[in-house]
Symmetry: D2
Subunit: 304 residues, 4 copies
C-alpha cells in the first residue's frame, strides 16, 4: 500500500470542500487562520513518514492536548485517577455543566473540558512547574525542541475563558479541584495553546500505535495496558458529542481540537493526523473528518 499516493489522492479529492465549515472564532487568535489550510501526515510503526500539504506548519492543537495531560495524570495516579473522573461518553456538548451538577462534580471523562480541568489540577498538584514538565514531555515525544506554547492564544483563551472559569469553580465547589482556579486555568489555557504541526503530532503520538513505546527511539512512555486504555477512551469519548459518527465513518480512535486538527490511531500500524480549520456542527474539522474517512476507506483500514 503506497500511503504517499493515497494521501495525494485525498488532497486532490477534498479540494472542492476546502472553505466549508466554520473556523472557530470564540477567541480572536483562532478566527484569523485561513480556512483553506490543509495538511495530513502518517507515521508507521516501522518508522516511515508520509505527508501532504502544510504538514510542517504549526497550528493550535487545542483539545488534542488533552491526551497529553490525561496520559501524565494516568501515569501518576493510576487506578486512583478514576475516583476523580469517569470513563463514559457524556452524550452532551463538550462544555456543558448539566451532567456535572447531576454527578456532583465528577466529570464524565478526561476529554471533555471539565475532565481536562481535573487532569490539569492533578498535574498542578504533582509537579513544581507543570507547564514546563508538560512542554518537556511534548518536545521529547515530538522529537522537536521548538514545540512551544502560543502565548497569544493562551492569553486570548484566558480573556474569553468565562465558561471554563465557570466549570472550574463549579468543580472546585464540589471539591474535585484542589488548587487555585487561576493556576489550574493558566496550565489549561497554555496546554490548549500548544502549537504543533501534523508531523509533530504523528511523532508525538507514535507510542499509542506502538504499545506505549516511541517509534524510532523505542522508549517506553506508558505501559502497553495504559496504551490500550487511552485508545479505548479516545474511541468512546475523543470527539465530543460525535463519537458515534466518528467511529462509524473513520473507524479509528481519535481526538479532535477546535483548531481543526485531528489525530487518529491504528494500533499496531500507524498514527495519522490531519489539519483543516473549518469545523462541522459538532466542533470537529469538517474536511479533516472527511479526509480520514477517505483514508480508511481507500486503505480498508479500521479497527472493526
Amino acid at each position: 500500500m503506497n500511503y504517499q499516493t493515497i494521501l495525494e489522492d485525498i488532497q486532490e479529492e477534498i479540494k472542492p470542500l476546502l472553505g466549508q465549515g466554520k473556523v472557530a472564532n470564540y477567541i480572536p487568535a483562532l478566527g484569523a487562520i485561513p480556512i483553506s489550510k490543509f495538511a495530513m501526515a502518517i507515521k508507521t510503526i516501522d518508522n516511515k513518514e508520509y505527508s501532504v500539504g502544510d504538514a510542517e506548519e504549526s497550528f493550535s492543537i487545542q483539545s488534542i492536548s488533552k491526551i497529553f495531560s490525561f496520559a501524565l495524570a494516568l501515569k501518576e495516579l493510576r487506578a486512583e485517577l478514576w475516583e476523580r473522573v469517569g470513563k463514559e461518553p457524556s452524550g452532551t456538548a463538550f462544555n456543558s455543566l448539566i451532567q456535572l451538577e447531576f454527578e456532583h462534580g465528577i466529570p464524565r471523562n478526561p476529554f471533555i473540558n471539565a475532565g481536562a480541568l481535573v487532569m490539569t489540577d492533578i498535574l498542578t498538584s504533582t509537579y513544581n512547574d507543570p507547564k514546563q514538565t508538560l512542554l518537556d514531555l511534548v518536545r521529547e515525544l515530538a522529537d522537536n525542541p521548538k514545540v512551544n506554547f502560543d502565548e497569544v492564544v493562551a492569553k486570548s483563551e484566558n480573556e474569553w475563558g468565562d465558561r471554563n472559569r465557570a466549570l472550574a469553580y463549579f468543580i472546585k465547589d464540589f471539591g474535585n479541584i484542589n488548587n487555585a482556579v487561576d493556576e489550574v486555568l493558566d496550565l489549561y489555557f497554555h496546554q490548549c495553546s500548544l502549537s504543533m504541526s501534523c508531523l509533530d503530532l504523528v511523532r508525538a503520538f507514535s507510542c499509542l500505535a506502538n504499545a506505549g513505546k516511541t517509534v524510532g527511539a523505542n522508549k517506553v512512555i506508558i505501559s502497553e495496558r495504559q496504551t490500550k486504555r487511552i485508545n479505548s477512551l479516545l474511541m468512546t469519548c475523543g470527539t465530543y458529542d460525535a463519537v458515534g459518527d466518528f467511529a462509524y465513518r473513520v473507524g479509528l480512535p481519535g481526538k479532535s481540537g477546535v483548531g481543526g486538527g485531528i489525530v487518529a490511531i491504528m494500533p499496531g500500524h500507524f498514527v495519522i493526523s490531519v489539519w483543516s480549520p473549518g469545523l462541522n456542527e459538532s466542533g470537529n474539522s469538517l474536511v479533516g473528518t472527511k479526509a480520514l474517512e477517505l483514508f480508511t476507506t481507500k486503505t480498508k483500514t479500521s479497527i472493526f
Copy 2:
C-alpha cells in the same frame, strides 16, 4: 494460542465470583434463573469452535437481539435509517425518556430501548410477518432450526412492559412510530424473548467477525461496510451506560442483555459469547464482563 485451555482456565478463575451480582427480576420469568449458571463459547473465522460450561443451554438473550433487528432495518432502509435514529452514545440509562424529549422522539442509537422500538416499527412496516422473518433469519444465522421465542418470557415482558409502552407511545406522539404500539411491542417483546445458547450466539454473529459473511457457509448476510458500521456502533453504544468501562476493560465491540448474556467481536478473528445471570449496576453480566476481560488479557486480544 489454545483457546480451549484458556476458556477452561477462566472457568476456574471466575468460580469464586459466581453468585455475585443480581439476577434481573423485573419480570418473574427471568428472576427464576439460577445465578450460578455459566458458559462461554468462541467461534473463529476459520470455523473452529470452543466452549466451556452450559454452552448448549438456551437462555433469554434479551437486548442482544437488538443487533438482529438493527441489522435487518439497516439492510432495508440504508442511509434513510439515520433520519429515524442516531448513532451516538446516550450517556443515560437504557430506558430513559429524558433525552427522547429533548431530541423530539429521535432515539440516540438503535441499542437503547427507544431505538430498538423504532427498529421494530421499521420491521413491522416492511414485512408481512415480521416475527417469522426475524425468526427465520436467526435460525439460519445460528444454523439451528430449533431456536425459538420463549412465549412465557414474551408474555411476562408484556405484562411488565409499562415502561416500554410509555416509550413507544412517547415516540409515536413525536411521529417516529408508524404502526400500532401493541403490534410494535408484540414484535419487540418476542425479539427480547429469543432463547439461544452461547454456541448459537457465536454462530449467529460469526458474520460480524467475517466481513459480513457467515463462517462456514460463507453466505453474504450484510456488506463489509455495514459490518464495520455495526461493530463501531456496538463499541460506542452496545453496553448501556457502561460503554466506556466495557471498551476499557474488554477492548472489543459487544452487546449485553439483562438475561446475563454478552457477545463480543474481534473483527477478522472470532466471536465470543458468555452467559452468567448475575448483573452489575449497569445491567451487564458481572461475571460475564470479568470473563471477557480475562480472555482479552490472557490472549492479548484487543482492537486497540
Copy 3:
C-alpha cells in the same frame, strides 16, 4: 364599582386583538372553533352575575376540569393525597416527562397532565362510576343539569392521546397509577371534554371565592381550609409554565385550558371567567389573559 360597565369596556378594548394567538389544533375537534369567540362572566359572593359576549355558549373547558378532579381527590384522600402528588410548580411544560423521571413517578402538582392523571386514577379507585360521579358534581355546582361531556371531543382526545398515554404508562411503571391505563384515560379524556359556558364556570367555582360554600344555596362543598389550599395551588401551579407571568399580570389564582377558557378567583369577593380560543405561546388564552389583566387593573383588584 359597576362590573357590567367594566366588562363591556373590556369587550370593546380587546376587539382589535381578537384573531391573535393560535387555536389549539392537536385535536381536530378543537381546531374548528372560530378564533373570534369571546365571553366573560362574573359571579360575586353576594350572588350577582354579570356577563358579556357568548357567555352562555358552551366550550371545551379542558384543563380547567383539573380543579374538579383535584378537589374530589382531596376530599377523599386528604393528607394522604400528598404521597402521590407534589404541590410545587414544575418549571417545565405541562406535558413533560422529564421531571417525572427524575422524581420517580410523583408528578410535581395536580394541575400538570401527569398530576391530573394520578387524580383520575384515585377517582377511578374510589367510585363505582367515576364519570357519572364527576358529572353529577359539576352539574350540581354549575346548577345546570345540561352540562355534559362532549363525546366527539373525548373521542378525538383519545385518538390523539399518545402523549398522555405515554405519561400514564410511565407513571404506572413507577407504581403511582393503580388502575388500567385505558380506564384512567377514559375518565381523563371525558373530564377534559366537559362542555361549559362562562356562566356555568363562575357558578361552578363560586365556592372557591366563598370559603367552600356555594353562593346562593350556601351548600358546603369543601372545607374553608381546603378552599385556601386549592386557591394557593392555583396561584403557584394553575397556568402551566406561565404562573409567574399570570400572577404578575392578573394577580389572582386561576386555571386555564387549551380550549381558551380561564377561571380566576378573588377570594371573598368573586369568581371571574373568560373565553377566547386563540392561545399564546404558553398555551393560555391570549385575549383571555389580557382581558383579566384589564379587569384587575381597572377594578384595582389583586390579592397582592
Copy 4:
C-alpha cells in the same frame, strides 16, 4: 384581634420544636449561631408594632436581601429588566446551573442566586458606589442608621463562594453580566451579609403592605403597580423550591434566607417577620415556617 397575645401564644407553642432543623454551615460565620434563637415581629399599616423573642437582635438576612436589589433594579430598568431575568418559578434548587444552561444565561427569576447576581450586576452598572446606595436605602427603609453589612460574613461568603463564582462566570459567558465578576460578587456577598433584626425587617418592608409607601413617613418608595409585582413574584418564587408548600401552609407572599429569617406580607394589612436558625430540607427556617403557619391559621389570615 390582639396580635401581641397571638405572638406570645406562638412563642410558647413552638418551644418544643426549637433545636430541630439544621443551621446553615456552608460558611463558618453562620454555623456558629445558636439554633435556639427565636423572634417574631409584626408591623401593621396603621403603624403598630408587636414582637416576641430576640426581635431587636440582628442576624444575617442572606437571601431576604434579594428583595432590596430586585426592587432597586426594577425601579431603574422597569420593563427592560425582563429581558435579563424571568418571572417564573424555577422548579429546581436555588443554586442550580442546569436551567441556566438550557435558557442561555437568563435566570428564571430574581430570587434564585443566578437572578440575584444579574440584579447586582445591574446595580453595579447603575450606581457609582452600589454598596453604599444599597445600604443607604436599607437604613432609610428600616429607619435605623445602624443597619450594616457584617464584614466577617461577607468575607466568609467570599471564601466559600465558588458555586456563586461559577454561576457568575457562567452568566457572564452568556453575556448577561457586564461587570467584572469580582465586583459583582463583592456587592452580592455584602448584600447577603446585611445584618438586621426582625423589627428592622418589618419596618424595611412595610411599603410592600402599604401600596409602595413607607408606613409612618408615608414616603413613596415604589409605585403601587411595582408593589403588586414584587408581592406576586414573592408568592411564586420567594421560597426556593418550596414555594408551593409555603403558599399552601402560610398563604402569604414571603422571602426566606438561610440565616433563618423569613419575611411575609399581607397586602393592605401588615408585614410579619420571624427568625429561627434551624433550616428544613428546602433551606427555609423550619420553626419560622411553622410559626408563620400558626399565625395565619390563628388569625385566619391568608390572601386566598
